[in-house]
Amino acid sequence: MSETSTTIAKRVARHIEDGEIVNLGIGIPTLVADHLPDGVDVVLQTENGMLGVGPTPAPDDVDPNLVNAGKLPVSELAGASYFASSASFGMIRGGHVDVAILGALQLDGRGRIANWSIPGKPILGVGGAMDLLVGARKVIVATTHLAKDGSAKIVAEASFPLTADRPVDLIVTERATFAVGDQGLTLIDLADGTTVEWVTENTGAPFAVAPELSTEAAA
């Protein structure tokens, strides 16, 4: 994936706590596991029915019966377990997964996500994102700050259908990190070289700026 994807993944990884059970969405989120800080040990759940997901295997070690939710080959760590889809989503909806990391097409000013449907196109896929959004204890969005056409992904009112009525907890882009609270978005971190002005210009929703705003290196 691109350098920007890696940047985003690294920035997300700083918000993962030691010992958490984490579900990684397709795309940028899958990169997060490779960038966890030293001393942070997590267990990965994948909604197609596995706890204890290991890294991508060498080509000779690929097991066709062992994939993640992106249908990509993975490996099995010691202590892993397998379960049926109903049990896997029972875990997710029941609040047993600590963190879900998801991508987004749009986010609104209340921190609600749209990632499954584009107006004017037939709605033919939803997958497990809605389940993760309502069930995971903490939801982190990992996304580029801008859409491919250069427009803001974070907007006051989403024009795309929302994926859940529940807001996410944290929005992490390559430029900025927002915490989501009852009052909406609060900018809590800027990437090295990014200014509050840049974020204001490139974010379509109002946001507060945290007094203790941190500036983490972007890469």
């Binding site: 029915g49 889809s85 259908p161 859940a164």
Partner: protein, 225 residues
């Protein structure tokens, strides 16, 4: 043969049980854990017309369940993610394929409910979204929930790693996915397996699908007899 043993049939014999208009559940997450031998036989079965297929995906173009669509066997698809098979999108846009979309967890739970005598259930998933339009919602303890009815099928085609001669099943890693749930929710359950062992060889504490759910075993094409 003891009457409590399960039927062991060829793919063609097994798929002769499918009738036009049937609802058919098909296990697998994409191609992983999908009963590819049974799907191939379904394509050759006379009765496999005008089917409603309940499956997470409809395979990929030309692979797995994806083969059924150009062969015009499917009139309706119920699942959670069809976007990656462009033929599904095209057939839907041409008006040839009805699509019912459910969140993946709701799909799995509805199948489980169908097998477990649950008349319906409420989940937070999808509540307050476009998917809930025209559907029953209810506030429970201050949160909005969406009502979901159970799903059942005439026939379930599933895939397991190993069966005993009574029909007890175990699965291989993430090839388990929807298969055990679907085994409970259909009138006739046909399981494609890699290996068939004698009764007593499976650990009773580790059986995932008890034999009372399974009607027919079919060996996977290429598996050792």
């Amino acid at each position: 043969m003891l009457s409590t043993m399960v039927q062991l049939l060829s793919p063609a014999e097994a798929l002769a049980k499918v009738k036009p208009g049937d609802t058919v559940m098909v296990g697998g997450f994409g191609l992983v854990g999908a009963p590819l031998t049974l799907i191939a036989a379904l394509l050759e079965a006379d009765g496999a017309r005008d089917l409603t297929v309940i499956s997470n995906n409809l395979g990929e173009p030309g692979r797995g369940l994806g083969k059924l669509l150009p062969a015009r066997r499917v009139s309706k698809a119920v699942g959670s993610y069809f976007t990656s098979n462009r033929e599904v999108v095209e057939a839907h846009l041409r008006g040839e394929l009805e699509v019912e979309l459910l969140p993946q967890g709701t799909l799995a739970e509805a199948i489980r409910a169908g097998g477990a005598g649950i008349g319906g259930f409420y989940v937070r998933t999808g509540a307050g979204t476009l998917l809930a339009e025209g559907r029953e919602q209810r506030e429970i303890d201050g949160e909005l929930y969406l009502f979901q009815r159970p799903l059942r099928a005439d026939v379930a085609l599933i895939r397991a790693a190993k069966a005993d001669r009574q029909g007890n099943l175990v699965y291989a890693r993430t090839a388990r996915n929807f298969n055990p749930d679907m085994a409970t929710a259909a009138t006739t359950v046909i399981a494609e397996v890699d290996e068939i062992v004698e009764v007593g060889e499976l650990d009773p504490n580790a059986v995932v699908t008890p034999h009372l759910f399974v009607d027919v075993l079919v060996r996977r094409a290429g598996a050792q007899p």
